[in-house]
Amino acid sequence: MIPVLFFLAAAATLAGALGVVLARNPVHAALFLVQTLIGVAVLFLLQDAELVAAVQVIVYASAIVVLFLFVIMLLGVDRAESMEDRVPYQRPAAIALGVILLVELLVLAGHEWATGQPTASGVPLEGGGFGGNVERVARVLFTDFLWAFEITSVLLVIAVVGAVVLARRSGQRGAPIDAPEGADEGDAGAAEEARV
């Protein structure tokens, strides 16, 4: 049963990934991305990572893809792009580099050190009286990685402030699009930071 599920999910993941790259329409690419993300979530489930699989579906396949689709619709870029390259030989060179990268990664994946010894300390996936998957992840996240966890909150605040400052409409309503962005940009940014 598990091998069948693995190959089904792997095929869905690979097909979705190829679809993201090959689809001319960005909306189709976003939907293929959903297919890949759900396939990866199934693969997470097959590897006893229940919490990560749930978060993958909730955060990635839902929130982030909806954000992508929202921007695609907002900007109206859902038309096919021109596939011609301004740099000659870019596409063959990119594919050749991709083949080299794939060969390198496969060689690394087959190496001995890539599948080395289990760590002596640390929370195992099963057994040891640590509870279920959620408890295990929480135990590691809020003990060993507490400092990194707090740092990520700072990162998110910076990202939110940056996004607000970047996407804020400068100037008054009806102002020409190419109007120079002056000193009010910095003032608004400072005000945003003060509010946060």
Partner: protein, 106 residues
Amino acid sequence: MTLAALEITSSYYLVLAAMVFTIGAVGVLTRRNVLVMFMCVELMLNAVNLSFVAFARALDDVTGQVIVFFVLVVAAAEVAVGLAIIVAIFRRRRHATADDLRALRG
């Protein structure tokens, strides 16, 4: 059936992650639409997540799954800032292809 008797080791997952990562990298290099390039970056991040979980399984240590959360947070922050940059560019240029950003050259 021989397929049902096959044991799926972590090498299978690592090979799959390598393929997805490569597809994402080639996508970033070949596509011109900035949004699609972002999606390809998400593909690469997901491939890395997959190999983290595969190593967590292989080494029997839940730390690999915890790292996935940090990758998720960084990906979310990256998407928020990146999409804001795309919106800002689009407001000025009416296009969102990478070729239109050559004005950033020094």
